[in-house]
């Protein structure tokens, strides 16, 4: 449905020199991205701040031109035709007045060449029907996110690009949003949704694309990524009184420092396999557990595994990207 081959885009950044104060150099962006977006797939785009997720989205939305590589969208021969197939929701749009949500959506309907009634229906769909005539300056961030979602859904796009769409949405709206996206994917739409936290997308995405420093460092279903990166299944256990003396030869235990009297806790890593109910039961039938839960690998762990960097070092390297990309 959408295919990127060796896609590269880098932002020009100012590098003033003594006799050329306006001089620029190519800075951060995306480099050599290969990506195929299949029909009916929800792709989670994950990475730390400054990884290039938003840039990749804007390249796919035909807003930023490719410096190198190709972008092809099924059934579209011109840039305008591509844009007609794609719905794009940027990160945190602070819709501004004067004007109402109805007027804002009607303007976009005109730009898309679709009837205004479609826009009104979408406002109802995202729960803004009863606030459609209110001035945008009275909207909360969550309501502005809903309006952005309605804008992205205009014209029934076959490809939806959603940049941090869950920011500012309340839990009920998030749940409704997930249901809506699943319905759209089931109807054949392809969805790309970005976030900097894996847990946001875990329940939603079919496949993941992990980005770091403008490049794809891992892709595929999350379990496959974790397996390929050699991330071991982790279980967090905790209890009161005496902890077990040993957990077994194939289990690596790492104590979690606690400051609460008799309570203790461990992170247990299995060398191979998964934490089955049987394995959990073998941990100590005589121990009363106060906590027993599997731990999802965090983004920093996955990034660390994918890039080979130490977590502590990678953390600062990730942060330093934010400033240069802003």
């Amino acid at each position: 449905m959408l295919e990127l081959r060796a896609a590269t885009f880098r932002y020009p950044v100012r590098r003033p020199r003594r006799f050329r104060p306006w001089a620029t150099a190519l800075g951060p962006g995306i480099r050599g991205i290969d990506l195929t977006l299949s029909k009916g797939t929800i792709l989670g785009l994950v990475g730390p701040n400054g990884a290039g997720k938003s840039t990749l989205m804007q390249v796919m939305a035909n807003i930023l031109p490719l410096e190198d590589g190709t972008l092809s969208v099924e059934g579209a021969t011109t840039i305008e035709a591509c844009r007609a197939i794609i719905g794009y929701m940027p990160e945190r749009v602070t819709w501004n007045g004067p004007g109402s949500a109805k007027q804002a959506i009607e303007r976009l309907c005109i730009m898309r060449g679709i009837p205004k009634s479609n826009g009104h229906e979408l406002l109802d769909l995202v729960g803004l029907g009863n606030r459609a005539l209110d001035d945008l300056s009275t909207f909360s961030q969550g309501m502005k996110q809903r309006l952005s979602l309605a804008a992205a859904l205009l014209g029934e796009p076959k490809i939806l690009l959603l940049d941090e769409p869950l920011n500012g949405l309340d839990p009920v709206a998030q749940s409704a949003f997930r249901t809506l996206l699943r319905q759209l994917a089931d109807q054949g739409s392809s969805v790309v949704i970005s976030s900097h936290t894996l847990t946001d997308l875990e329940r939603l995405a079919d496949e993941f694309l992990l980005m770091h420093h403008g490049r794809i460092v891992a892709n595929g279903p999350l379990r496959e990524i974790e397996r390929d990166l050699g991330l071991r299944a982790t279980l967090e256990i905790g209890g009161l009184g005496q902890p077990p003396k040993s957990f077994g030869t194939d289990i690596e235990a790492k104590e979690i420092p606690l400051h609460d009297g008799e309570e203790w806790a461990y992170h247990l890593h299995l060398a191979t396999g998964e934490w089955t109910t049987q394995r959990r039961g073998e941990l100590g039938p005589e121990v009363t557990f106060t906590r027993l839960k599997p731990v999802q690998a965090g983004l920093e762990t996955v990034i660390s595994a994918a890039t080979g960097l130490d977590i502590e070092d990678a953390g600062f390297s990730i942060l330093s990207e934010v400033d240069s990309d802003a």
Binding site: I63, A84, E91, N96, P98, Q103
Partner: protein, 289 residues
């Protein structure tokens, strides 16, 4: 076959023009409803009509000015257009692009299937229509006041010329301001660029004129110098306000007509229309949100 291609393209073009117009009207309404228009609108209408009323009253005309006809009144009233209406364009358009960029709405606009050149035209027309609305109203009220003061209506050609020239002037300033707004990364820079351009053409344009005249050996202290007037007219072709004044002068009596040919003045006016418009369209083509 060729006929069907021609009709298909005509329909496509009609649809594109319709979209540009619809978006422009939408944007213009938004500008007209804005708080700043509550201040600018009445100010522009009042000033234009007040200057028409004042210059058409022989008892209060400043010494040294001679007013013989409504045409002269309209010409003198054009000074308020140069000072206030151009400033109103700057104040309406300084955040037309830069604010949308900051709020993220520009990214949504640019992701729509509307061609970017069409988008550029609609943005220009949105600001221009909003600025023209109170200006045209002010001119029409001014014409009525001239009739009530002098007892004769301004000629239709004079009013048409006044509105067309003013429309062109405001279009030039709209292009310059939106260009500045699209280049600026923040609203403060956009305001500075816009107001700076306005100050340069309104108040400082005489300085380059004097420098050019002096370097060509013309005595700039002689207020009756014909040579200086000729140089001034030529340098005015490179200023939007200068071209506007020259356009307005073409309607005056033969003694007050500019030395330059009407053709060269119109060529300059069309160039001022085409070049900034092209620059802005080109800027939007390569604009990053």
């Amino acid at each position: 076959m060729q006929v069907s291609v021609f009709f298909r393209r005509s329909i496509q073009m009609r649809n594109r023009l319709q979209t540009i117009w619809d978006v422009s009207v939408h944007d213009a309404k938004k500008h007209i409803r804005s708080q700043r228009m509550l201040i600018l609108g009445p100010l522009v209408i009042f000033l234009l009509s007040a200057t028409c009323w004042g210059f058409s009253d022989p008892r209060i005309i400043p010494a040294g000015l001679t007013v013989n006809s409504p045409t002269d009144v309209l010409f003198l009233s054009s000074t308020s257009v140069v000072f206030i209406c151009t400033l109103s364009v700057v104040l309406l358009g300084f955040d037309a692009i830069s604010k949308r960029r900051l709020t993220g709405e520009l990214a949504i606009d640019l992701s729509q299937p509307m061609p970017r050149s069409d988008y550029a035209w609609s943005r220009l027309m949105g600001v221009w229509l909003a600025a023209m609305a109170p200006t045209t109203l002010g001119i029409l009220i001014g014409a009525v006041l001239i009739q009530s003061q002098m007892g004769i209506w301004p000629e239709f050609g004079d009013i048409a010329m006044f509105i067309i020239s003013t429309g062109l002037l405001l279009w030039w300033y709209t292009c310059l301001q939106l260009l500045a707004s699209s280049m600026a990364r923040d609203i403060g820079t956009s305001v500075t660029l816009g107001v700076g351009t306005w100050l340069f053409f309104v108040f400082l344009w005489l300085i380059p004129t004097l420098i050019i005249a002096q370097s060509m050996g013309v005595d700039v202290t002689d207020t009756t110098s014909v040579a200086f007037d000729q140089i001034q007219e030529k340098t005015d072709l490179f200023s939007p306000n200068g071209v506007y004044q020259l356009l307005m002068e073409t309607r005056l009596s033969s003694a007050s007509q500019p030395e330059l040919s009407t053709f060269s003045i119109w060529v300059s006016a069309i160039s001022w229309f085409a070049i900034p418009t092209w620059l802005f369209c080109n800027r939007i083509q390569h604009l990053r949100p």
